[in-house]
Amino acid sequence: MKKTILTVICFVMAALSITASAAGLDTNKQKVLDALTSSFTVDGKVVSLPSDVLTQAENYLKRDDVTITKNQADLIVTEVEDAISIVKDSGVASIAALDARDKSAILENIQNAAEVIDLTVSVDSAKSVITLLDDKGNPVASDEGVIKVTGPDSSALAVIAGAGLALIAGCFVAARKMRLFSK
């Protein structure tokens, strides 16, 4: 009896240590990552998520504050598989080549999967950028451009200088109209 209880305790301890691992991936997180990394072939071309998007997902899943239950992992995997079948059925080799209906169906899959783990999806239609945000509004993943702007942004200075010049010109015109410069 004692031996059985000890075995059960050891098993529970081992299970807890797996789910509480800090930067690592437990079984459920690994299941989600495996689903995202899966690839398939269309017309001889391998279709998969870009490596930087997968790294973003991996970095998020490795966070200490992110926990995923088996049920949540299964729901996310179902959504990922749905999205994959949409791309497969369309017969195109890239998401960009999908028609509008398929794109919105995949966006719905992304939103459903995100909702499972309390992430929100922000879509910037003008820039065609999709960003996943955590409950504090921090970006978790985004398909925004990789290379960012790293020079001094002088647009604010230009606006201020323009406004200043316009103001000075206005003052000058007003002064002329009021004949303030005449003797």
Partner: protein
């Protein structure tokens, strides 16, 4: 009486308008040079202040300066490594040859880049054997990248290890040129970049890339016994 009349009539020309222009001038100068003046004022306050400054509420940081041999170990267990949240200061980046020292943040939004240099979310943190893509402003810490030469050492200090990378080359490329970086390689390549040319005001389409290969630093392993 005549003097009073003169002052009243000419007040706009000799008093109000010069005053208005003066105020407008000061506002424009302040707006233009606030970014340069404010750090100087802050530094001065730091010198003359009697109280110890507390920046904890303003900057999310998990980085703690440690000085132990553990940081130079061959491996580090994955469960001891804390994955940073977006916008978190998690490491320090230094290029000793040029006295470049800056905070390294996880994430590379414009807000993050105002504070230090930022790592692209789609690249890995040091130790995973995968590429790191780090950006910084050319009028900030990464202005010094223009002097970096082959074989210079870049040091990234984290809470779990000190990583050294040897510079292997530099390249000028368009910001849309995907051949300038390879994030899918299974190699811990350090890629630093900033806007090019270095002395240009305003936005440019070119970027200056500096590449480095890992020389030392602990590998992150899930099972140290197996490693």
């Amino acid at each position: 009486m005549r003097l009073f009349y003169f002052i009243k009539k000419r007040a706009m020309v000799y008093l109000y308008l010069p005053l208005l222009f003066c105020i407008i001038g000061y506002v424009i100068l302040y707006s233009a040079f606030a970014s340069i003046v404010m750090p100087m004022v802050s530094s001065l306050n730091l010198i003359i202040s009697e109280n110890q400054p507390n920046h904890a509420s303003r900057v999310a940081s998990i980085f703690e300066q440690k000085d132990t041999d553990d940081l130079n170990a061959e491996t580090v267990e994955e469960k001891t490594v804390q994955m940073p949240v977006y916008g978190t200061h998690y490491a320090r980046l230094e290029i000793p040859s040029y006295s470049i020292k800056t905070d390294l943040y996880f994430g590379d939004s414009s807000a993050v880049l105002k504070k230090g240099v930022g790592q692209y979310l789609g690249s890995s943190i040091p130790g995973y054997g995968k590429p790191l893509l780090i950006s910084g402003h050319n009028n900030g810490a990464f202005g010094g990248l223009q002097f970096v030469k082959d074989n210079d050492i870049v040091v990234i200090t984290t809470n779990y290890g000190i990583y050294k990378y040897k510079v292997t080359g530099t390249k000028i490329a368009d910001h849309n040129d995907k051949s300038a970086y390879n994030l899918s390689q299974d190699k811990e390549q350090l890629i630093l970049y900033t806007c090019y040319p270095f002395n240009t005001l305003g936005l440019t389409s070119k970027r200056y890339f500096v590449y480095g290969e890992k020389v030392s630093g602990p590998r992150i392993v899930s099972n140290p016994a197996a490693a």
